[in-house]
């Protein structure tokens, strides 16, 4: 078998199982286990963390790994970085691996920033002089010019993050594994990290990116893999995979509460164009539902539209308090111009007793979903993270200045 080109990631039929009894690693526990086994009382029980993972990434490709918590994303990343061994199957990763996994974990707090840079470098398999070549860049990126000779234990957590990220991302990795590192760090730093990831990609490295920030993932990766319960559900162009993932997750979120009941009952939720058809981008959206109240309530009604998550793209409310008499109340709402591109959206709602901080009459929850017809969402430039998918009309004129 010839060696694959540098930067290749290959996982063939990878399975991984963990012991599922949660006994800690102490001598007494090992003895108890051994005793149980001898008496034939209990066989060790396992659970599969990964099942039949087949993955092939060519040099220079960028792959996003998405899935719910505990789906096996981090386990897969650990196996790809060869830290963890698969129970079955074969993993081949050619070239130098840079791992942005638990960025701060590999840093020795007692050493200075400078010493840590060289230490991480030699773990990545770099020679001292190669690290020295990149040293200034790392320091500049991490903004540690004045602190590089200070012990890392005196660093703020942000400084440690920057150092860890800088070291892994600047030491010319052939394969860059990124696991949910952007969650920490402020917005500006996140943006710079994404920029750096893009540069590393442009230099020809292969990227494997785990994140729950789907927008960031979409901005950085061309391909996607969706893992659920240790099994690959979808694989392909990132937009399609994310669409499949969102549809599943959102379906789950919307289906999870069939009865919308609190102190009030919500019934007959409809969201459509006023004529009952599908709403279109820039067109009107009509929402109607009925509320059933047992007693008189003074209520604030809120509606929000999201891609599935509880965080809405936009929120609307009548702007005034509503008095609900006992019995049925019909609510009608019209959005005159829907600023959403083509896709599936979810209508969330909540009803509260007071402005902003009242008791919940109906907790914030998905009410229904609707599809919007219209132009596709414009692609963002690489590494630019868009917060919400909004479609805004604009007209341009670009010409030579007179």
């Amino acid at each position: 078998m010839s060696a694959p080109p540098v930067g290749t990631i290959e996982a063939t039929e990878v399975w991984k199982r963990f012991r599922s009894d949660d006994r800690p690693s102490y001598l007494q526990d090992q003895l108890a286990r051994a005793r149980d086994r001898v008496r034939g009382r209990s066989r060790p029980s396992y659970r599969w963390a990964l099942r039949e993972i087949d993955l092939r990434a060519a040099p220079g490709e960028s792959w996003a790994l998405v899935g719910a918590n505990g789906a096996g994303k981090s386990t897969l990343l650990k196996i790809l970085s060869r830290v963890m061994y698969p129970t079955a199957g074969e993993v081949r990763v050619a070239g130098r691996v840079g791992a942005l996994i638990e960025v701060r974990a590999g840093i020795s707090p007692l050493l200075t920033g400078r010493e840590n840079v060289f230490l991480t470098g030699s773990i990545m398999g770099l020679k001292r002089r190669d690290v020295a070549k990149r040293f200034d860049e790392i320091v500049t990126f991490a903004e540690l010019e004045h602190a590089i000779d200070r012990q890392v234990k005196y660093y703020s957590s942000g400084m440690q993050m920057r150092l860890g990220f800088g070291v892994a991302a600047f030491l010319e990795p052939d394969v860059l594994l990124v696991d949910e590192v952007l969650a920490v760090g402020d917005a500006i730093f996140q943006q710079r990290c994404l920029d750096r990831i893009r540069t590393v990609l442009a230099e020809g490295a292969t990227l494997m990116f785990v994140s729950h920030d789907l927008a960031a993932v979409e901005a950085s990766c061309a391909n996607g893999v969706w893992i659920h319960n240790g099994v690959i559900q979808a694989m392909g162009p990132v937009r399609d995979v994310l669409a499949a993932y969102r549809a599943a997750v959102e379906g789950e979120a919307a289906d999870s509460r069939p009865d919308i009941e609190g102190l009030l009952k919500v019934r007959d939720v409809h969201a459509s164009a006023p004529d009952g058809g599908l709403p279109s981008t820039g067109g009107p959206l009509s929402v109607s539902f009925s509320l059933h109240a047992e007693q008189r309530h003074r209520a604030w009604v809120y509606l929000g539209v999201s891609e599935g998550a509880a965080t809405p793209i936009f929120l609307i409310n009548p702007g005034r308090e509503t008095t609900l008499e006992p019995g049925e109340t019909q609510v009608q709402c019209e959005v005159q111009s829907l600023p959403l591109p083509s896709g599936r959206y979810y209508l969330w709602g909540g009803i509260y007793e007071n402005w902003t901080n009242g008791n919940e009459l109906i907790g914030w929850q998905p009410l229904t979903h609707f599809d919007v017809y219209g132009p596709e969402l414009d692609a963002a430039p690489r590494a630019v993270v868009r917060l919400s998918p909004l479609h805004v009309e604009s007209s341009w004129e670009i010409g030579q200045a007179a």
């Binding site: 063939t12 039929e13 399975w15 963990f18 800690p24 690693s25 102490y26 001598l27 007494q28 090992q30 599969w48 039949e52 650990k78 970085s81 060869r82 830290v83 963890m84 061994y85 698969p86 129970t87 079955a88 199957g89 074969e90 691996v97 791992a99 996994i101 638990e102 974990a105 590999g106 020795s108 007692l110 050493l111 010493e115 230490l119 030699s122 773990i123 398999g125 001292r128 012990q151 996607g224 690959i232 979808a234 694989m235 392909g236 162009p237 399609d240 669409a243 499949a244 549809a247 164009a273 004529d275 058809g277 599908l278 279109s280 067109g283 083509s342 896709g343 599936r344 599809d371 017809y373």
Partner: protein
């Protein structure tokens, strides 16, 4: 609203339905079928093959990492300590003074090695013993304490215990420098047979490495063993002829050989005294028995380590 507009809106709705259907088709196209079986096929099960040649070549490839790790631990240790490098000297010297006080006043071992000052006798035993026990403790904990690094990037795991051993070697070297002072103070000159030293270092290093590798790997799986380590070290001091000559316990050669097999430090320490202080050759049969045993322990420890290595990230 005019009829034309209404018609347009219906048309759009029709188109939208098609659009959503094609979107669903795209979602389906990237779907991957679920695995057919509940468990992997037997043929692809991961089996650990320990190839000695490959392991050593890989270790050589990571030699710079070993140096860096050893340097890191040294820096950390001496940066924290006010007295710095002096710590390497203080431990064996203080122990030597204590043992000298006890064993020249309470009992007298001098009769077993006439003409050899006990100060030198005990110090020459204490330096390699301190080396060994430091390796077992620091090296034994090296995997557990480097979990952060272990879980990030791949390297052959034995670099961590080996780096700890290199640190202990550094300390032992500094501690040995004290002998340059002790010999003149005692008015005693080392014998020319000191040239046997390299031979004696073979079982010492092999035994130390074998034990350290074993302890470090097993400790990952049984964390509470670390509490047992100090006790083992203390007991070890008494079952090893560190502060007494082996002839105190036995003069029978078969017993000495058996002791050397069980504890390869026995011929090492005895050999050091015989060559450096008494100007004799090592006792060859116990030496060879101890060396053979230590090499077996090294081999066994290394294989055990390589086998346990695969699960470290799972339990750490």
């Amino acid at each position: 609203m005019g009829a034309v507009l209404e018609g347009a809106s219906v048309g759009q709705a029709g188109q939208a339905l098609v659009d959503q259907a094609s979107a669903a088709a795209v979602r389906e196209s990237v779907r991957v079928p679920a695995p057919q079986s509940d468990a992997p096929r037997r043929e692809i099960l991961f089996r650990r093959r320990v190839s000695l040649r490959h392991a050593i070549r890989e270790l050589w490839h990571f030699r710079e990492l070993i140096v860096t790790l050893a340097e890191r631990d040294l820096r950390v240790r001496y940066k924290q300590a006010v007295l710095g490098v002096a710590w390497a000297v203080i431990t064996p010297v203080v122990m030597m003074l204590a043992f000298t006080l006890v064993f020249t006043k309470v009992t007298n071992f001098s009769k077993y090695s006439p003409g050899v000052p006990y100060v030198l006798f005990s110090y020459i035993g204490l330096v390699p013993w301190t080396f060994f026990s430091t390796c077992m403790q620091a090296g034994g904990l090296s995997l557990v304490s480097n979990v952060g690094l272990l879980n990030k990037l791949y390297c052959p795991r034995e670099v961590f215990p080996i780096a700890a051993i290199i640190d202990a070697m550094f300390d032992a070297l500094i501690a040995s420098l004290v002998l340059l002072v002790l010999f003149p103070i005692e008015g005693f000159a080392p014998k020319v047979e000191v040239y046997y030293l390299p031979l004696l270092l073979i079982p010492l290093m092999a035994f130390t490495l074998g034990v350290t590798l074993t302890v470090s790997a097993v400790l990952v799986y049984m964390r509470d063993l670390r509490l047992l380590l100090p006790l083992i070290v203390q007991m070890g001091l008494f079952v090893t002829p560190v502060i007494y000559p082996p002839s105190v316990l036995t003069t029978s050669e078969p017993v000495l050989v058996a002791w050397s097999v069980a504890n390869p430090l026995v011929p090492v320490l005895d050999g050091l005294r015989r060559t450096i202080l008494e100007g004799l050759a090592p006792q060859w049969i116990p030496y060879l028995a101890g060396t053979a045993s230590s090499l077996l322990i090294l081999l066994g420890g290394f294989i055990l380590f390589k086998r346990l290595e695969t699960g470290i990230a799972d339990v750490a």
